[in-house]
Symmetry: C2
Subunit: 452 residues, 2 copies
Amino acid sequence: MKTFELSKELIDNISDLILNKNNKEIKKIVKTLHYADLAELINELKFDESLYLLKLIDSDKTSDVLTELDDDLRERVLKEFSEKEIAGEIKELDSDDAVDILSELSEEKKEKVISLIKDENITENIRELLNYDEDTAGGLMAKELISVNENWSVLKCLREIRKQAKDITRVHSIYVLNKKEELIGRLSLKDLIMSPSKKKIKQIYIPKVDYVNVNDSAEDVAKLMRKYDLEAIPVINDDRQLLGRITIDDIVDFIKDEAEEDYLLAAGVSNDVEADDSIFELSKARLPWLILGLFGGLGSVFILESFEEIMASESLRALFFYTPLIAAMAGNVGVQSSAIVVQGLANDLIKGSVLKRLVKEVSLTILNGIILSFLIIGFGQIVNQPIEMSLTISVSMIFVIIVAALIGTAVPIILDKLDIDPAIATGPFITTGNDVIGILLFFYTAKIILGF
Amino acid sequence: MKTFELSKELIDNISDLILNKNNKEIKKIVKTLHYADLAELINELKFDESLYLLKLIDSDKTSDVLTELDDDLRERVLKEFSEKEIAGEIKELDSDDAVDILSELSEEKKEKVISLIKDENITENIRELLNYDEDTAGGLMAKELISVNENWSVLKCLREIRKQAKDITRVHSIYVLNKKEELIGRLSLKDLIMSPSKKKIKQIYIPKVDYVNVNDSAEDVAKLMRKYDLEAIPVINDDRQLLGRITIDDIVDFIKDEAEEDYLLAAGVSNDVEADDSIFELSKARLPWLILGLFGGLGSVFILESFEEIMASESLRALFFYTPLIAAMAGNVGVQSSAIVVQGLANDLIKGSVLKRLVKEVSLTILNGIILSFLIIGFGQIVNQPIEMSLTISVSMIFVIIVAALIGTAVPIILDKLDIDPAIATGPFITTGNDVIGILLFFYTAKIILGF
């Protein structure tokens, strides 16, 4: 693959050149790099070097590099850039990227930057986009698009496209509007170049067009584009007027980010942290979940203390030895159940009644529980444990994991109904809850069976 | 959003129409549905109904629907379809989708289906694609693409594109070849329609073209396309000859599938299962991880038994009450560390030496551990626990979670170096290991401190 591999040599080389202010040589190297590769390089430099390099390179490349930098570094860089410098970069960007950068600035700095952009077209677009929530279609869309009128001829259309396309990196669909500027269809470039030049757009456009409303959630947009394999989708308002378009590359990033957040959340790491963040940021993302786990653990201390008297009985004391096993099984089963439900909810695969789903989870857990019980009984026989004890432990464990499965299934469904991201349930939340509840149920069930 | 919402009414309506064999009405409804929506509907029907519907609708729609069906249902459907029927569907599909379906058939049925396709162009493409591993660029690519020669004029180029484009749903880049059929660049449709018709392609093509080798891993292809925001990428062999192209919609699906697999794996669910799979499939995906957890739990039984004598001492017995807390903390910290490392490895963010990373994790864990210790000591004061016991538990816990963090960090890095998917480490693997090791370390540290 013709991939760029960031090498230590390149980093050292650039560092040296910056130290010696050898701007000519730096520019020569930078010229050969794609902006995404350059951003990767800059991420690795010392902050002063990064700043030096960013100020040295051409403005149109700087602006693209800015969109690709690590969030933390970009934040620091923007603090060091003057309003005028930022305005210069913003002008070079597509409206969606421009807004992404602007929204990282303080309210005051943002206003100042916008006031420094003299092109009214740009500021109008930016001001509009800044109004939308970043998790909506409006927050993902860009204003740059190509639209044609249904009454134009192919020839006029080609001419207009040439004009409009100047400001646009990539031409996706061409959107067709009627007199009232309402979106009525689309035109494929392929059809356009294959049609005689006198034909009217009216005769060749495709009236079937997918679109999203500006207020639709980003998640729904991603789902729609993925389902129908769309590379771009127009965004309209409630009056069907065309406001912008969302392209697949933004959706790819969105899907990837969402998946990473869910994955980290499931492991008890909140916010959007990365391995290279500072210790304090990492601690902030991890400590709350550990404290939650700690409270669960302290809850178990209470439960176990309340069964302290059975420590005196040599035959019953074995129950204590099994508590970590029970806690682990309760946690594991709960996490499995909730992960499958969370995944299903995300893909709209959870159909039928909640009751049916719970019944299925219980059946599955009983099946797994019986198999696990054989292993426990076998282990008991090997270590010469009384068979009543092995049976008690097995039955109690099955009971515990059934409840764990029910909790693991129900919690995400309830969270989803309450419009809370169910992914939060798969993590330490379920593990901790099931640990405590599992241990409690285990001792109570054993107490009933063994009658102590 | 103009989204299709699968309603119970529609399902019931179709079921009734199938029961009454009202084919005319069924066809009328099916005609209004996008194939992805139709697949969603068919997924919800009874198997016999699904089969009836699939055989009723037009072949070109059936083939598209087949590519979108749930894997399990498609497998069952293909078993019921004759070789001739499958061959008919395959012919309608792009080569990459055709191969996806073919590779689900038995070796014998596959050969028979291919022999029934009379178009040699198609069978040649299919036979070539069947050779590639599905996790490589070759496994993702399709043969359908548009290529032009550098010596053609814009006019000839447009004519040739019209010819080639007939078989192609969407025109992405146009690839430019030299006399030796080597890939030398690309041509944007935009540039093509903006150029005078007599110009040579040579004069307007873009020599800078990203490409992947047919043997590159699918993951690397996804990373590359995401990084450079590519919508399609050409695939070449070692001689730079153009073999096919990969489009972004395949990559979107790949990224989504990978993320889901990692998420489920982290929760202890292997294979690609969904909430609606059968109980036995779900059990097969979940039981192995539970058994792993069980063995870990049985390991803890041994460890705790070996400390049985301290149950007799009222002052030491409290250590037992804290075992679930210690196990939970060890598991949680380990999972957090490994999740961050796994995520970092996936995004090439783990830079610098392994030693530096371990030092960072340890510092972070000490910071978190100290804060957690204050909570444990506070709790101890409230429940009137001797301060030596609280301190012993705190110190032991910090020691335990440091080791857990080291294991959580090191295991994914080692797995990655061994070319094993490190995502496997975040799940029950780390939790179970850290549970057992944590409990062992906890009791030994306490033993040393308290001198029992």
